[in-house]
Every structure is written in structure tokens, then in C-alpha cells.
């Protein structure tokens, strides 16, 4: 495709999504460099999940453009070949590891299927599946397990391994650690940091949890009502929030000495 390494992995311009009268995403433009990590922070109805879905082609933008690894991805893929190519650019991991895996498929089958459609040679499927399960920190015996016998943390590791099967350049993590216990959440966050270091994969990290966003992202966009209200380097946005809404979000996080309702406007 002739993409220079310095060109950003994702470029969106004036992205907009409208459902009937509701403007879910309103005029969102951003860039994500290769190997970067961008947080998208917001609450219910902020448009963060709609934005994530448009990036991976699960929602079609009403207007605006999406370019991923140099390819115009504003419209749905026209052919299987194009869909596969896009699958090698960007993958998504959802919030709920209980509903995002096929209950009838073993972990090994899920990984081998993802590897096969991304063009891996049949003879290499087993070895690559073992390498993936190792990358996400699970023992090989998990390959023969079905999701029902796995814990929430193991399922989320499986979903991450499956997303990595296509060797994507970017992962969209949509509240991917929100449903996990604190002790497991820390394991998965460390794992994501290791994977990024080892593979150079970029992250778009969609979350409502400011502490988690601080831990995994370099840049952050704060969304409300479909619009970006504040953006910048994650540390400086969280330390010195300028927009009133970012200030309210930050004031709402329980911490030592916190009083519920602090920063409340109503």
C-alpha cells in the first residue's frame, strides 16, 4: 500500500453518526499514531462506543471520513479480501467476555479460526495458537477449554488473544477491563502494557474509568453528547482539566477524603 511509517494509523475527519433525531457522534476528528495509545473517556450517551464501532466497520458513518493504515475505511468493505485486509489493521475487544465468545467453540478453535481467515498456513495454526495463548499469559491446556469453564479474566484474555490473531496494528478496547474484579483488572492492564511493548500495537482505549485511562493511554479525548469537549496529553488533562465536564468527571471519582456529590451541579 506504500504507507510510510510516519503516517498515522488512524485519521478521522469530521466524523458524524446520526440515528433519527439523535446525533450520536458529532464532528469528531482525530489522529492516532502507529504504536500510540489514545483514551476515549465519556459516560452513557457520550458517543464513545458508536465511535469505536465506526472505526472497526460495525457502524457506518453518516458523514465524514475514516482512514486506517492509509486505506479509506469510511464505507463498508466491498469484498471479502478488503474485509480481511481491514481485519489485519484493526480489531476490537468488547466489555463483556461472557457474551463475546461462542460458547460452543473451544479457545483453540476460536484462535485457529481467526488465524485461518487472516491467511495463516494450515500447518502453522497450532503453533501460532499456542504462541497467542502464551502471549496472553495462559497455560496451553486452556486451548481445549470451552468458555463456560473459564473465569471472566480468562475469557477476556481469550478475547484479546483472538483479536491479536490477525496481527492487527491497532486494538480497540471498548471498556475491556470494566467488568473484571480489581485484582484481575490489574493483571489484564499489565498484560496490555506488555503486549504493546512487544508488538508495537496501538490502542484506542474506550473507558469511563479515569484511573485506568491514565494508566494505559498517552493522549485522551473527553466526549459528551457526541462531541469532544477536551483533549490532550492524558496526564495534563487529568491533572488540570479545563472543561467543566472533565472537572466534574474527575471530582466524581471516589478517593481518600472524597465526599459524594462533590462538584455536582444540580
Amino acid at each position: 500500500m506504500g504507507v510510510g511509517v510516519s503516517a498515522p494509523l488512524i485519521v478521522t475527519q469530521r466524523l458524524r453518526k446520526v440515528y433519527g433525531d439523535l446525533v450520536a457522534v458529532d464532528d469528531v476528528s482525530f489522529e492516532l499514531p502507529h504504536g500510540g495509545s489514545l483514551g476515549i473517556v465519556g459516560e452513557s450517551g457520550s458517543g464513545k462506543t458508536t465511535l469505536a464501532k465506526m472505526l472497526v466497520g460495525l457502524e457506518r458513518p453518516t458523514s465524514g471520513s475514516i482512514e486506517i493504515a492509509g486505506e479509506n475505511c469510511s464505507l463498508p468493505a466491498k469484498s471479502a479480501r478488503q474485509r480481511w485486509r481491514r481485519a489485519r489493521s484493526l480489531q476490537i475487544v468488547f466489555q463483556d467476555p461472557y457474551s463475546s465468545l461462542d460458547p460452543r467453540q473451544t479457545v483453540g478453535d476460536a484462535l485457529r479460526e481467526a488465524l485461518r481467515v487472516s491467511g495463516v498456513d494450515r500447518n502453522l495454526l497450532d503453533a501460532r495458537a499456542r504462541a497467542l495463548i502464551d502471549l496472553v499469559g495462559m497455560p496451553e491446556r486452556v486451548l481445549t477449554s470451552r468458555p463456560s469453564v473459564l473465569s471472566g479474566g480468562q475469557r477476556q484474555r481469550t478475547a484479546i488473544a483472538r483479536a491479536l490473531a490477525t496481527e492487527p496494528r491497532g486494538l480497540i478496547l471498548d471498556e475491556s477491563v470494566a467488568a473484571l474484579d480489581v485484582s484481575i483488572q490489574a493483571q489484564i492492564l499489565n498484560l496490555l502494557a506488555d503486549i504493546r511493548e512487544q508488538t508495537g500495537v496501538a490502542y484506542v482505549f474506550v473507558s469511563h474509568d479515569l484511573a485506568v485511562v491514565r494508566h494505559v493511554t498517552d493522549e485522551v479525548m473527553v466526549m459528551r453528547g457526541g462531541q469532544i469537549v477536551e483533549r490532550g496529553e492524558t496526564g495534563s488533562v487529568l491533572d488540570n482539566p479545563r472543561h467543566e465536564y472533565t472537572q466534574l468527571l474527575r471530582a466524581s471519582v471516589p478517593r481518600p477524603g472524597w465526599v459524594p456529590g462533590s462538584g455536582e451541579s444540580r
Partner: protein
């Protein structure tokens, strides 16, 4: 006399091939007007503990131990007495308000029928009271909201309706099981502020179940940390950071990323949370504990006093923690 005394609460539930013990002797007491937090991860037994208090267990579960409400043994209450206990004296708010309300009945019917059935009020008196409590929990235009269906309300608004429903009775004890976990952070803050205010104004006691240590510390007086069906540490909420002594409590505090600064690496707890059903000979946290000794693997520790509060750890008096 305490409002609620729980002593040696055990719970057996059906598992493949028999019954399994999931709560292993929970002791706690709630003073009148006090706020008590129960904190833990999945499988710790925190929700089952409050459900046992509310008498909301499936019939196949076997509950043992003492449960006394103002000194009265809950197990020997007559069915009429038990109904009054469960409807008017103890109120429960759940994590998912949508699962706790009938989706095809209007909000007003939900609120009004409750008191008409349980307290024998007239519909017009119940309706006036419903408007009053909706107003009290900050629902704007309460008259109109009575005619809304649950699906027309946001999660935060619906949780306010559920809280309003508990206020119809002026209960002495509110049992809140992760009441804000499904809500946005700004809504959580507002709903917690509301619960806190109502509780203080009415002198209502609360047992607050959450996975969020910081949230519990902010709204409770006392915190019980549960792991695998046992309370492993009980301490005043304001001493959580400075004085907690159980390796699990400390590990939980350490595992959370911080809002104020980025750490290079999180101190994750290895393994996964155990449930009470797991057959572990010694301390149930031993397989994940950094400070484990041989004794921890063979003997279940009992509660000991360390730094002025109760800790279930063989090494409680010995491990020195820097203040967090």
C-alpha cells in the same frame, strides 16, 4: 443493643453432588444509624451475606447462625412478623434497578401498590406519599413520573425511584447491594450523596455492599473485607489506608491504578479470587499471598486483634506495612 447482630452465619447451597458451604461463619453488627461496608471481589460472599439478612435466599439454600434484629431472632419470626420485617423495617436496593422492577407496570403503580398491599393504605394516601418521596430523592416533576414506564427512565433516575420506594416505609435498615455499580460516575456520585443525606436525616442504618474500596471508605463508618466466604478484616473506614493489616486488603488497595499519577506497573494479585466453595485447607488467600508461610497452608487463621482491629491472618501482628 445493636440494630442488627449477625453471628456465625453460614450458608450451604446446592452444588453438583450435594451441598457446598459458601459462607463460613460471618459475624457483623450494625448499630442504629451506622453505615457498614462489605467489600470484596466476585465469590467473596458479600451479596449472599446481605441477601441472608434480607431473607432473600433461594429455598434450596440452608442458612444457619444467629440473625437478631433489635434483639429479636429473625429465624423464629412468624410469617406475619417476617413480612413486616422484610417490607417495612429492612429495605433493599439492588445493583440493576431494571431487574428489580416490573417493566410493564408504571412507576406509580410500583410505588403505590407496594404500600397499599403491605401497609393497607388507601390509594390516594399512597399516591400522595409516592409523590413526596420521589420529590425527596430529586426526581423532577414527580406527578408526571408516576405515569412513566421504567424503560422511559435513565438508569440513574430509575435507581432514584428504587431508593424512593424504600423510603415509603421509613425502614430502620437499608441494604444496598452495589447500588451505583451500573451507573455513570457522575450519577454514582449524585446517587451516593442522596443515600448519604437520606440516611443521616432519618437516622437510617445501612449495609453497603461494593467492590469499590474507596467508595465504601467514603460513605461508611466501618468496613468488612470479605474473601472466599469469610470476613478477613474489620476496621474503621477512615483507617483503611493507614492501618489495614490483612495482605488481601493491602493487595486490593495496591492493585488499583491511581488517578493522580501513572505507575510503570500495577501490583496485580496473582491467580483469581476464590469463592467460599473452594476446598482450601488453610487460609483461603494463601495461594495468592506474598507473605505465605507453611502454617498458612495448613491452618485456617482465626480473627486476631492487630492495631486495634480484627484481622484474620497468622502474620497480622508481624508484617510491617508502610502507610499507603
Amino acid at each position: 443493643m445493636s440494630l442488627l447482630e449477625v453471628e456465625g452465619l453460614t450458608l450451604d447451597v446446592p452444588i453438583p453432588g450435594g451441598m457446598g458451604r459458601i459462607l463460613h461463619g460471618v459475624d457483623l453488627s450494625v448499630g442504629a444509624g451506622a453505615a457498614v461496608g462489605i467489600v470484596g471481589e466476585s465469590g467473596s460472599g458479600k451479596s449472599l451475606t446481605v441477601r441472608s439478612i434480607a431473607g432473600l435466599l433461594p429455598p434450596a439454600a440452608t442458612q444457619k447462625g444467629n440473625l437478631r434484629f433489635f434483639g429479636e431472632d429473625v429465624a423464629s419470626m412468624s410469617s406475619d412478623r417476617l413480612r413486616r420485617y422484610r417490607s417495612a423495617q429492612v429495605a433493599m436496593v439492588f445493583q440493576d434497578p431494571r431487574a428489580a422492577i416490573n417493566p410493564v407496570r408504571k412507576v406509580g403503580d410500583f410505588l403505590i401498590e407496594n404500600v397499599v398491599t403491605n401497609l393497607g393504605w388507601s390509594r390516594s394516601r399512597a399516591r400522595d406519599k409516592a409523590v413526596e418521596v420521589l420529590d425527596e430523592v430529586g426526581v423532577t416533576d414527580p406527578e408526571r413520573r408516576l405515569t412513566s414506564f421504567p424503560a422511559q427512565l435513565s438508569g440513574g433516575l430509575l435507581q432514584r425511584v428504587m431508593i424512593a420506594s424504600t423510603l415509603l416505609y421509613e425502614p430502620e435498615l437499608l441494604l444496598a447491594d452495589e447500588p451505583t455499580t451500573a451507573l455513570d460516575v457522575t450519577t454514582q456520585s449524585a446517587v451516593m450523596a442522596l443515600i448519604d443525606k437520606l440516611r443521616r436525616e432519618r437516622g437510617m442504618a445501612m449495609v453497603f455492599v461494593t467492590h469499590d474500596l474507596e467508595l465504601a471508605a467514603a460513605v461508611c463508618d466501618t468496613i468488612h473485607v470479605m474473601y472466599a466466604g469469610r470476613i478477613v478484616e474489620t476496621l474503621p473506614a477512615d483507617e483503611l489506608h493507614e492501618k489495614s493489616r490483612h495482605p488481601y486488603t493491602r493487595a486490593l488497595l495496591d492493585a488499583r491504578p491511581r488517578l493522580e499519577a501513572r505507575e510503570t506497573r500495577l501490583r496485580a494479585i496473582p491467580g483469581q479470587p476464590a469463592s467460599g466453595l473452594e476446598d482450601i485447607a488453610g487460609c483461603t488467600f494463601a495461594p495468592r499471598c506474598t507473605f505465605v508461610l507453611d502454617a498458612c497452608r495448613s491452618d485456617q487463621p482465626s480473627m486476631v486483634l492487630a492495631d486495634g482491629h480484627e484481622v484474620r491472618c497468622h502474620r497480622a501482628g508481624e508484617i510491617l506495612w508502610g502507610s499507603a
